[in-house]
Subunit: 149 residues, 2 copies
DNA sequence: GCCGAGGTTTACGTTAACGTAAAGGTCTTG
DNA sequence: CAAGACCTTTACGTTAACGTAAACCTCGGC
């Protein structure tokens, strides 16, 4: 299958209106899309963060999988471990029939993450000031280098 | 030395005005202050991020060291590797007598970090929205649990 | 004089998050 | 039908950032 935005099926004429967003993806497509390796994606599955369907051996990812991968990678960029991400993701999935204790626990976790975000915001603000400062100084020194060097 | 905010010296009466902020810290003090282990602090030194003085064997940290540790930990929280942090820190130190190439390189790195910060800001914004959403749903489900369970 | 609370070095262990390699299956295109 | 371009599993390797343990020094107080 030498590339070709994989639609789920050839779609015969009588299929009628496609069942709302029936797009699917191969592992390679997702990998390119998010600039990660296929290894990474398989690893995330192994860690319980993804659960694509299979056509034979081959993994078939749908829109939901893509979104989940996107969220996972975003979480990673923010310094969350895969375990943390999985915890939220799994609880989110189990929500509909979750009991009180689980739901409260979920909300607790979310509150915690939010605190984390707040701190990061502050860290970023401070770090930006630092960077500004360092760059300003660097430019000063650079400017003062009339001809020497 | 059963704890006692280590001042550098007993400071005899004739010392005159203390040479601007002469406070020093033991490794244990810093560890508590930043909630890390002493192992971590020694490790950072080994990685070239700190270079405290020695009184005999013992490490003596001053204000500059403390600030550097603070910045290092902040960088870590933002997902920078120690190598990245060291790169900036070392270039910053070498700045005064840095040549053009080095300075330009430093500015380049800073610009890169800044882009990183921008992305993180966006990521946080999005993540906060996600968290809001998940929590809202969780509370809904929780509220709908009149008496069952 | 020794005990406890600090400090030190050396060195091996651990964990997360993949990388990398081998060996093989399945299309499809020249 | 052979060559690519994909996909698969299995399994060992790697790196960063410490943790943990052992064995030691040193001071101030009782």
């Amino acid at each position: 299958m030498t590339q070709s935005p994989s639609t789920s099926a050839p779609a015969t004429a009588q299929d009628g209106p496609l069942p709302r967003q029936r797009r699917t993806y191969s592992i390679g497509e997702l990998a390119k899309m998010f600039e990660v390796t296929t290894r990474t994606i398989r690893f995330y599955e192994q860690e319980g963060l993804l659960a694509p369907e299979r056509r034979g051996q081959t993994r078939i990812y749908d829109e939901k999988d893509r979104v989940r991968l996107k969220l996972t990678l975003r979480g990673k960029r923010l310094g969350f471990s895969l375990a943390e991400i999985r915890e939220v993701v799994m609880m989110y999935d189990a929500m509909p029939d979750g009991n009180r204790r689980q739901l409260r626990r979920l909300i607790e976790i979310l509150t915690d993450k939010r605190r984390n975000m707040e701190r990061q915001l502050e860290d970023i603000r401070l770090m930006q000031l630092e960077l500004d400062d360092v760059e300003r100084r660097a430019r000063e020194v650079l400017a003062s280098l009339g001809d020497s060097d």
